[in-house]
Symmetry: D2
Subunit: 199 residues, 4 copies
């Protein structure tokens, strides 16, 4: 499992598509965008759901958090069932958001996850927000730094001056895609052999 975290317009989705192209095995891609798409339309703009203010600030409500927690459990269950999964997320809560994933991951999280920080200079991300044209202006700048606060990564990439494909190749080099990640996880848990090599 690969979890990418970065602010809006930092380039996560492009990296995900490149990862799916360069990794030899098929990986499923989910993320906060596909989760929000799964919500009822009325939760897109409500106190219980997710709301984007005119300045690009994002707030989420109790129903949103409860459904998101269940969604995380489901994603982890897909990994346990043998699927390779890439997640792109926006850790609005910084370290607390990472802990929510770690809690859902349980023992999978110890060895089976590659944590990737996707950085992008605030001004660059803000420019790309204008170029893509489908986001409330201000989200990119508001999220550029805050989503990384206190988060611990295995690897960080910076899209400010590096293409998505090059970032994806750097990430792919850290993924053991030849093995089945689901089988890797229990074997790490149950078989104490392999003590000298970090998985």
């Amino acid at each position: 499992m690969i979890i990418l975290n970065g602010g809006s317009s930092s380039g996560k989705s492009g990296i995900v598509r490149c990862l799916q192209a360069v990794l030899p095995n098929p990986w499923l891609a989910f993320g906060c965008d596909s989760f929000v798409d799964a919500l009822p339309a009325r939760m897109q703009e409500s106190d219980a759901g997710i709301a984007v203010a005119a300045d690009g600030g994002v707030s989420v409500g109790a129903d949103f958090l409860a459904l998101e927690a269940a969604w995380r459990e489901g994603v982890v269950a897909m990994v346990r069932a043998g699927a390779r999964v890439i997640i792109d997320d926006v850790f609005l809560g910084g370290a607390a958001s990472q802990q929510r994933w770690q809690k859902a991951l349980g023992e999978v999280g110890e060895a089976g996850v590659l944590w990737v920080g996707v950085r992008c200079e605030s001004a660059v991300a803000a420019g790309r927000e204008v170029a893509r044209g489908d986001r409330v202006r201000g989200m990119a700048a508001a999220q550029a730094d805050v989503v990384h606060e206190g988060v611990v990564y295995d690897l960080e990439v910076d899209t400010s001056r590096t293409e998505s494909l090059v970032c994806a190749q750097a990430i792919a080099a850290r993924v053991h895609d030849g093995e089945d990640p689901a089988r890797r996880t229990p074997s790490t848990a149950h078989v104490p052999a392999r003590p000298t090599t970090a998985p």
Copy 2:
């Protein structure tokens, strides 16, 4: 959990959005479209993934089936974690496709699922396929009947002459949305008393 099954262009997506609007609690919506979106681009048109022939016939490969099985496990895990979930699917294998869901559902499937057949006359669905303009022509007619073969439903709706919203209201009337569906399942399974009061 609600599982809708119907052929391409039978009107499933519209019913799902209406269900999300009329049901008082928030329901997450997933389906074969969002699953395919999660696949690598190269699996959209390959032997290992999913391929749509010029006549609208659909074939899927081994990688597709394996990832789909893991995805079903994950969706069921979301339900176990407390989320209300609506699935819209195309049972290309008819009864065999339903059995795959039943296997993934385990004990949830006994009481916690409402199976809904979404029918649409072949000629009507074929016309709507032209009107929407984003599907290979022929899929609607090819799937209209075959996806229902041997499938057992709690409820069937027919969109040929009934609006999506009206179909959704009929389905919603069968859903006990006041309780938490995750908690309802064990209580229904274990406590046979409740014969006189609708839950």
Copy 3:
């Protein structure tokens, strides 16, 4: 040239795609949606552009009207240059909106245009607005009747209980698609023969 007028969620786009499919010659399709897509993002929600209120009411500003007038001139120029064109529009101003097209059309308007009213019962359109899920709720009901006030049609269709494809076939039966519509117009204007058959 074919000009369809109807409220939001009345089914215009589906009819347009079906018309493009059933008419033997290739027809270009433009409309208020593609015009709005051509505007700067900041005009989507501003006093000078177009604004959709929370209740689905739509208001447009001076810049919007000026650009729309130039756009209409351009569309008519495409027809004069030999293109077959289908327009789907929302006559928020009723008869005044039709007159704006007639002014832009000039002599083309006399014989070369088929005016089509696309009706849909307000409650049905409101339900379809929920089913499509990408429109502010209330637009369909707000526009269902007002857009037709004082407008004169060659043909009206009602999508409340008639499929898009059937509506398109009724419209296509009134189109002389074997001839070149651009060449047809001057011949009607210059040659007074054909006095007994409506063009």
Copy 4:
């Protein structure tokens, strides 16, 4: 009027959205993508329309060329009617494609158009093609150079290592957006000052 020419995935659309954001007056944006969207679905993959081969090669037929010529006439008519218009196009025919625009432009073309070449290194564009995920792979590389052959520009930008917004600012600096572009053309024609700088 601004006409941008560049290969697939060279970054034209992002520059267009940035131009619409930074230019003080409202500019309409059209291009080959919106033109293709206006075609009947059957022309997307046919001998008479446009076809994209498995290697990303693009071929267009006679109906396509005829409709495109009429579309260009219409776009120029919008400019004559007072609209500021940005076009992003892919000159598959190189200099011949530019001449088609010049023919349509007539006298507007002499002074009222800013020709912009959008360059992107072939390998970079190919990587972005993977990242966006919605284009046949190979188009970017196939078009990167050929579309610029023999084309004469007022200005060239290179998106390989320059952000869309920065490119747009360079272009905007060459646009006299304070004046009405339609009125600017005759005034440029009548005042022979500016003899030393090519327009």
